[in-house]
Symmetry: D3
Subunit: 69 residues, 6 copies
């Protein structure tokens, strides 16, 4: 499946922290660059998200803000 | 200002494409890793977004999806 | 690719309206049920979105609100 | 109230799963077409979301992605 | 219609700036407090959004970030 | 840090309700105008969000919908 979301970063799962409804997933997409994602617990289980797994972080371009110092 | 959005990536603006209401901004946050952002044209002007400028890409963790091959 | 977004609806493209930066895409996912999507013009071109094409509408569950009469 | 969100689908609540802060609600908007929504537990209670209730799933068009096989 | 979005602010439209696909709407929800919204041009027309009109700004709680100085 | 999100409202924290992964924060941005935000528990702790603290509610303009009666 190819998706309209413009940002897709290959990475490795570093940490998985399940809550009641949501799970927090931390990925490393480049040395020292980590991305934190909140997905439903159900999705995390369906996708088999576990530490060390190769995954993609996917983000719509309208969800990326830009900031300056 | 420090924000609750968990993801903040330092980068350099590579491309700025203004539309009527929105502007598309492409940043490089690591060698070969580009992030595309859509912000309002007004924000792009206020922040002075131009090619070569050092900026941050900021993303809420609930806006990051996870995908597998 | 399999994604964490919980909602994925197969449909057919009914209308494509390109703007300067964004394109509005209307899909029919069931008889009489249409979904409107705004994606970047660039994504619409990359995915080859044209009338009649079979596509999926994909939505994160946190982006679905519930309303009552 | 009439809202700017372009997508509004009438449906019936099939499942309600409350967590600590959020509640996961599953609706059926057409035979075999289910939509999953995460709303705050407080909203679910205020709206009286229970199995069998007639509700609407509401989604902004910028939150709908398009994917192809 | 009553919606799960937790934030709903009554206000008056101060400015309407239509683009090709999207329209930027500025509302005043309290003296000196303005909210900027981007909705589709089509929604703005359907809702009859014009300067001086009484409207509501509606925001999901997951779309509100918190920042500190 | 200055961010592209167009909406930034100064306020005071009225209530903090932590869940397993997310925390619900209620701010007052003007007399009688409250904003509810869901952020990760981790962000709430990092920012030191407690009742009475002066903070900002930050919202992207694409995340603001408009509704009429």
């Amino acid at each position: 499946m190819q998706i309209s979301a413009r940002n897709s970063f290959k990475g490795v799962v570093k940490k998985v922290e399940p809550g009641a409804v949501n799970t927090e997933v931390t990925l490393e997409i480049a040395p020292g660059i980590e991305v934190v994602s909140i997905i439903t617990k159900s999705s995390a289980e369906t996708l088999g998200i576990t530490e060390g797994k190769e995954v993609y972080a996917v983000v719509k371009s309208t969800d990326v803000m830009v900031a300056i110092d």
